[in-house]
Amino acid sequence: MGNTTATLKLYASLSEFLPAGALDNKAQIEVSESDSVARIIEQFNLPERLVHLVLVNGVYIEPEDRPNRILAPGEVLAIWPPVAGG
């Protein structure tokens, strides 16, 4: 069996939705061939209004692409609510 886990990172007000055992805002999650970014967002009950900046391996995923973007083992999904800085 190969690696079946990916990394989920949730930041700011999304931190509270991380699964038990998460450390430093990240957790290892099991992924299957049908686990899209949108499906994982749903699986972890992330409120739609808080899902704003969605990166896979650091690259932004447009909202319309999230249902089709499969998260492969070894990849990193990171999500933020609407934030900004300067």
């Binding site: 930041y11 007000s13 650091g58 690259v59 990193v76 990171a78 934030v83 900004a84 800085g85």
Partner: protein, 615 residues
């Protein structure tokens, strides 16, 4: 009107304070603050003047919205020729000082000449006088504020001052107001120091009573505040997490400059992030972050107020630093942390406190330490020369060197020159991560291409606050663009530059632009000010300001060669992340940028362009 129509002119050589009417013709073309003060500066000084000579001038200016009920109307700017860059400098600050200047009845204060002894300016409404500051010289901004309030028996006086860094003419020293807000960049504090001007203290009780259409102004400012409140970024993200929330975002994108830009990601970014600031510490169980804080009239409240761990090595037996104080903001946390590979949050806060207390720009200071650490690691500098071991990641070195720089001791004097002069002195000019002598802020231009062009063309040297394309390239405001491509970026940068200049000239905070466009500030300005202030006119004002600043720099001796990034960014590809293999594409973007600006191939505005802008 919103302008008070009065300028205070202070001749430090003669010791005189005189009032004169504001040039309203210029106000109609440059609006206020950054625009109008820059107009006065370029009309009154020789662009080739030595920034630290008596012939340079320093202007503190408000905008027409400063001091009004408009949200974030608390901004003021310090405009001068910058000693760090030799370019036009305009540093913007919040807090309460700007509004107080307006309440006292002044649109701006122009300082000229040089005092023979330390003085501070005391303004009480119409009355202005220079007072002896011998007893304040050699003390911090914090002590200066406290002492001036105490000796005048008035805790409501607002003060902008320099610390020891400005007195010592550290080239990245700043002007601090309200304890931890600062006109931070380009070394404007050193200009104050060169003039023996320790502080400006103001008490104003007049308010801003000359708004053109009060009923309409009240209505439209309330509507626009509602937009800020309902916007997810300005209503929730910024007040809750502050700018520091970007640390993990930018790191995840592989655009967090690390160890003097050798790397594009910091393995310990989470340790110095907003999330870390909100987490209880292992040592005392308390979170670093205490609360957020707003500047005058602000309904966003992004500021961070924190308490350092009193058992941290940097503050043991230094109880004066144990209370709640300003920081950490994203830029400071990055420059003091990732830029040097330092992951000790408490050490970053200590360095930040010293920067506030003694008046230094933490971006340029931190980035200069990055260059020092690289030269330590490559053997150019050693412990004997620096006074401490200074490898990347050393929190101890960071804390020692911030004290030495602020106090003008030992190697700190050389750090106070900034990275460009320091690296040149030791034969490694390529290690200075700067443009026009000013150090980069916290975005790597290999991973966010628009920021490379922003830095290269910024009129005040490398800076993110002249064209924050991060909003579009990272955050999707107002529209999402691809950070890895150079395509379309010249137009994006120009649009951000001109709009930002208009925001700055108004006296409003640029952070409102996460929710507002020019179309939102236009009706507020139009209701407050005489004249017809359309959105098109504001765009033209922004473009006029940009070209005016550019002309000053050209006359000061800058050329196309100064619109470049350090070779590291254009020849050494990013090692990891989405930008892996990419370099900054400034050379390919610059010609298109010049063209759409209406400038020639050398980056000089054409006669036609200048004529169209009335320049």
């Amino acid at each position: 009107m919103a302008w008070t129509r009065q300028i205070l002119r202070v001749n430090l050589t003669k010791g005189t304070c005189t009032s004169e009417p504001l040039n309203m013709e210029w106000a109609m073309d440059y609006l206020g603050s950054r625009g109008l003060a820059s107009k006065y500066l370029v009309e009154e000084i020789d662009p080739k003047v030595d920034p630290l000579s008596a012939d340079n001038k320093l202007i503190m200016a408000t905008g027409p919205m400063t001091g009004t009920i408009a949200s974030t109307g608390g901004r003021y700017t310090v405009v001068t020729k910058g000693p760090l860059t030799g370019a036009i400098a305009c540093s913007n600050s919040g807090g309460y000082f700007g509004a107080e200047m307006k309440f006292a009845g002044w649109d701006m204060i122009i300082f000229e000449g040089k005092s023979s002894k330390p003085v501070y300016l005391m303004v009480e409404n119409d009355k202005a006088e220079l007072r002896d500051a011998s007893h304040l010289w050699g003390t911090s901004t914090w002590h200066t504020e406290e002492q001036i309030k105490k000796e005048n028996q008035d805790p409501q006086i607002r003060i902008s001052s320099i610390g020891k860094a400005g007195e010592n003419q550290v080239l990245f020293s700043c002007v601090v107001n309200d304890l931890h807000r600062a006109a931070g960049r380009s070394g404007v504090g050193a200009v104050m120091g060169s003039k023996n001007l320790k502080a400006v203290a103001i008490r104003g009780t007049k308010g801003v009573g000359n708004v053109e259409n009060p009923a309409e102004f009240q209505k439209v400012t309330a509507e626009k505040k509602q937009i800020l409140a309902e916007n997810a970024v300005t209503g929730e993200g910024l007040p809750t997490y502050g700018t520091q929330v970007l640390m993990n975002v930018i790191n995840e994108m592989g655009a967090l400059p690390t160890r003097n830009h050798k790397d594009v990601a910091f393995e310990s970014a989470n340790d110095i992030s907003a999330e870390a600031m909100a987490k209880p510490r292992e040592s005392d169980g308390k979170a670093h972050l205490v609360t957020n804080q707003a500047c005058f009239g602000c309904t966003i409240a992004c500021g961070r107020i924190s308490k350092i761990d009193k058992d941290h090595f940097s503050v043991v037996q230094k109880p004066q630093y144990h209370g709640a104080s300003g920081g950490l903001e994203y830029e400071a946390a990055w420059a003091l942390g990732a830029a040097n590979g330092v992951k000790d949050l408490e050490a970053l806060q200590y360095a930040n406190l010293i920067c506030n207390e003694q008046g230094m720009d933490p971006i340029s200071f931190g980035a200069t330490i990055g260059a020092v650490m690289e030269m330590y690691e490559n053997g150019t500098l050693d412990e004997k020369k620096i006074g401490v071991k200074a490898p990347f990641g050393s929190a101890e070195a960071l804390c020692e060197l911030v004290d030495m720089t602020a106090n003008g001791e030992g190697f700190g004097v050389e750090i106070g020159l900034g990275s460009k002069r320091l690296c040149e002195k030791y034969g490694q000019p390529e290690l200075s991560m700067s443009v026009k002598g000013q150090e980069f802020p916290a975005y790597d231009s290999r991973g966010i291409q628009g920021m490379g062009l922003t830095y290269a063309t910024s009129n005040r040297g490398a800076c993110h606050l002249r064209s924050y394309t991060v909003a579009s390239e990272v955050l999707g405001i107002p529209v999402k663009t691809d950070p890895l491509t150079t395509e379309g970026k010249p137009g994006l940068v120009m649009a951000f530059q001109d709009a930002t200049a208009a925001f700055d000239a108004s006296g409003l905070c640029i952070f409102t632009s996460f929710a507002w466009g020019l179309g939102d500030i236009q009706p507020q300005i139009d209701a407050a000010c005489e004249g017809d202030w359309s959105e098109a006119k504001l765009q033209e004002v922004g473009e006029r300001i940009w070209n005016m600043e550019k002309l000053f720099n050209l006359k000061a001796g800058f050329t196309k060669e100064d619109d470049q990034l350090p070779k590291r960014l254009t020849t050494e590809p990013a090692k990891e992340g989405p930008a892996k293999g990419l370099v900054a594409g400034v050379p390919e973007m610059l010609p298109e940028y010049y063209e759409i600006r209406g400038w020639d191939k050398e980056g000089v505005p054409t006669a036609e362009k200048l004529k169209s802008l009335g320049l």
